[in-house]
């Protein structure tokens, strides 16, 4: 048993942590969030230069052979720094599908460029009607000789505005909610028939509603076998869920720490509010929530990656925990900060909003509890 991280791993953490401290303070972050661009290219390039975009890929794919622990370390810091750059979208989501399914040709066309930062990409994992059900895919890809014609609508496509390519799950057979019959296509986003409705999200990120109207793509753009995309989709979303849970863990810790700190300085009734026992006990509760979340994150990270059913269960357990404990810690941080907690000028509000978004992203607490129970029964 060894719960510590290696020197190499801690070096990764230090790099990003120092970067945030020196180059990505709250003011900088807010200027990006409030600006027109979806993210800051310099900041993203720094991630590329440091090799972060190469981490979860095999050496033969040009990657660094990193695992979930490395991703976790990066995502935690991304949480602490409220980082807006599309690491999740490019590396975990699009990269996650490509590393699993792409042929060598496809990898050199797309994955290499994700690793070297030249390509922006994303995975369109949800549709207006599907909520959190990955198998609910109404978007259709019709066979048309050496082309496929895509029709449908994808919702909440993160990094959709900037994405050069979009990985689109589309139905090639089966009924709307069948896992079987979902195929994954790489769609270049400048093709005719694609229209994007781009927006910023409440947490300063950016996303799009994307409509596909008779979009013709080459069949070469099919990833993996026809109709067999679901399992990859699910595994990739599981990776991404683990990643945003690590991000949330970082946010929760920040919120808790900042709240304790604030309570030591904010004086009311002649006493720092941290001197009031009712508030002390509540901050002990949020501390415990953070520690438990950290522990469950460890559970997911140390689960055998090849035991897919145990891994899914641990990830759903973790996402459930984030849903419940995240809400608890977030709401308490705001409440204990009083009016300051709901001021735009303070980071607390923005941590809270990001945390609230993550609670929904890839399925809320109820959704993952149901999945957890299904996996328990097996």
């Amino acid at each position: 048993m060894d719960l510590s991280i290696s020197e190499e791993q801690s070096a990764i953490r230090d790099v990003i942590s120092r970067f945030i401290e020196n180059e990505y303070d709250f003011e900088k972050r807010m200027s990006i969030a409030e600006g027109d661009s979806a993210f800051d290219s310099d900041a993203y390039n720094f991630f590329v230069e440091q090799g972060f975009t190469a981490i979860p890929f095999s050496e033969e794919d040009g990657g660094l052979n990193g695992g979930p622990v490395e991703t976790m370390l990066i995502m935690k810091e991304i949480g602490r720094g409220l980082v807006l750059e599309p690491y999740l979208e490019n590396v975990i989501l699009a990269g996650g599908v490509l590393k699993r399914l792409a042929t060598d040709d496809q990898k050199s066309k797309w994955l290499s460029n994700i690793i070297n930062g030249e390509l922006q990409s994303t995975l369109a994992f949800t549709e207006p009607q599907s909520r959190f059900n990955l198998n609910d895919v109404a978007t259709v890809a019709k066979d048309n000789g050496d082309k496929a014609i895509i029709n449908g609508k994808k919702s909440f496509v993160l990094n959709g505005k900037e994405a050069d390519i979009i990985i689109v799950p589309a139905r090639t057979s089966g009924s709307q909610t069948e896992a079987e019959g979902i195929s994954l296509f790489v769609v270049e986003s400048d093709l005719p028939g694609i229209s994007k409705n781009n927006y910023k999200t409440v947490d300063g990120h950016s996303a799009s509603e994307i409509t596909f109207k008779n979009v013709e793509i080459n069949k070469d753009n099919l990833l993996g076998e026809i109709g067999k995309g679901y399992q990859t989709l699910e595994s990739t979303i599981d990776d991404a869920t683990l990643a945003v849970c690590a991000e949330a863990t970082g946010i929760m810790k920040s919120l808790h720490d900042k709240t304790v700190e604030y309570s030591k300085n904010r004086v009311q009734f002649g006493l720092p509010i941290g001197g009031f026992q009712a508030l002390q006990h509540r901050m002990v509760d949020t501390l415990m929530a953070c520690e438990e979340t950290e522990s469950i994150l460890l559970w997911a990270l140390t689960t055998n990656q090849d035991d897919s059913s145990s891994l899914k269960k641990a990830i759903s357990g973790l996402k459930y925990q984030i849903g419940i404990a995240g809400k608890h810690v977030g709401q308490e941080a705001v409440q204990l900060h009083g009016g300051m907690g709901i001021s735009w000028e303070l980071d607390i509000a923005h941590f809270f909003k990001r945390l609230s978004s993550i609670e929904i992203l890839f399925g809320n607490a109820d959704f993952h509890m149901k999945r957890f129970l299904t996996l328990s029964n097996n």
């Binding site: 409440v202 409440q335 009083g338 929904i360 809320n364």
Partner: protein
């Protein structure tokens, strides 16, 4: 023991209902139903409609323009108001400073201020909190020094809701610091916002809107005749007002309306949007909330029954404030949860009657649900935080 209305009360309900059907402006209703934010002009137009009907101030004594309604009538009115999805009265004039003026003000003050408040001609805001004084209001520092026939005001008020739209502000100020208890030496004074030295700085709140402000006072000269009651007794006047704020803060009728809308949303979801119809976890949360809201409703009715026989609302009103705001916040959460991913786009531009529904992201007011959730975290903070309410109950109800 029964909760039915008398036939007079039933008639009154019909009358109020007809009034809402006939007089509640369709364009304002449309905005409300589509979650389009109201302009100041909308509020004023609606409040003037109530004023013309003689219903602007249900709580005021008849001599000052009140309705003379019984507690049950007020309850009926509040219910109909919520059912019509009509906006709540902006409270600073009619709900807050008005009662202080008619209770503690002199004749000249009543004459000068009450008509403008009643007719919604003059827009008020509240100057209580200061950057260093939140829950601990009595620690306020803003100074008012007497100089001849004037007071000179210096200091800062904060969290002043709608301060940027207001004509006048009522403030708690420190007129003396040579006092035994901090609650002494505080005075209640009315200030014309157009006076030199008053400046209003926006505070953007979590959801991105300007709703509250910091109001700075730099050598602001205020006629001494604007002081309400006795110098140094402002704390007493202000406290009465806070208690008043607390009972009205429960918002039972409004929450009932929202709950019914939520149930409707669940029932009516078609297959173009995610369906929660069969989601037993979500339905259970609705059920739990329905029961909590029933509890709040009957707790309010019990208070109402007590008030009807002449008892003043006591510290029990703190209970209504705590649970009322908790329920509002749970409703916020459920709306956001029901909206799922569609709660996350930040698209305030689509909450505009002129926007193109074809270009809207999400269904109905889905995307506004997160903004409401974020913004309304304030409900457990303002009006005396829920922690302060618990202190009050512990002390005054439990005797601890």
């Amino acid at each position: 023991m029964h909760v039915s209305f008398t036939s007079e009360e039933n008639d009154f309900q019909k009358e109020v209902n007809s009034f809402f059907n006939a007089k509640y402006p369709a364009d304002i209703k449309d905005k409300q139903n589509k979650s389009v934010p109201l302009e100041k002009e909308d509020f004023i137009r609606w409040q003037k409609t109530l004023y013309e009907q003689g219903w602007a101030a249900p709580n005021w004594p008849v001599e000052y323009g009140g309705t003379g309604w019984t507690p049950v009538q007020k309850y009926i009115f509040a219910n109909e108001n919520a059912k019509a999805n009509a906006p709540a009265i902006v409270p600073f004039g009619l709900g807050m400073v008005g009662p202080v003026i008619y209770t503690y003000g002199n004749e000249a003050q009543k004459k000068k201020f009450l008509p403008g408040i009643l007719a919604s001609d003059v827009w008020w805001c509240q100057g209580y909190s200061e950057p260093g004084s939140g829950s601990d209001l009595a620690s306020l520092k803003m100074k008012a020094e007497r100089a001849g026939n004037e007071y000179i005001l210096n200091g800062t008020k904060t969290w002043t809701t709608l301060g940027h739209m207001a004509d006048w502000i009522f403030c708690l100020v420190r007129t003396s610091s040579d006092v035994a208890r901090r609650q002494e030496g505080i005075s209640f004074i009315l200030v014309d916002m157009s006076t030199e030295g008053v400046s209003v700085k926006p505070i953007i709140t979590i959801e991105g809107d300007r709703e509250v402000n910091e109001v700075h006072f730099e050598n602001v000269k205020v006629p001494a005749e604007n002081l309400i009651g006795e110098e140094g007794k402002g704390w007493t006047y202000g406290k009465v007002l806070l208690q008043h704020e607390r009972t009205s803060i429960a918002g039972v009728a409004r929450s009932q309306y929202r709950l019914s809308r939520l149930k409707e949303k669940i029932r009516n979801s078609d297959n173009t949007q995610p369906s929660l119809t069969g989601d037993s976890d979500f339905l259970k949360k609705i059920g739990q909330l329905e029961i909590e809201l029933k509890a709040l409703e009957f707790t309010e009715l019990r208070t109402l029954a007590a008030v009807s026989v002449g008892k003043a609302p006591g510290p029990e009103s703190s209970l209504l404030k705590i649970r009322g705001t908790e329920i509002q916040q749970k409703l916020d959460e459920l709306f956001m949860e029901a909206a799922g991913y569609f709660s996350l786009p930040y698209v305030p531009q689509q909450y505009n009657l002129n926007s193109d529904p074809e270009e809207h992201v999400g269904f109905g007011a889905d995307s506004v649900s997160s903004l409401v959730y974020f913004n309304n975290r304030k409900a457990s903070i303002y009006g005396g935080s829920n922690e302060i309410q618990k202190n009050i109950i512990a002390k005054h109800v439990l005797g601890l």
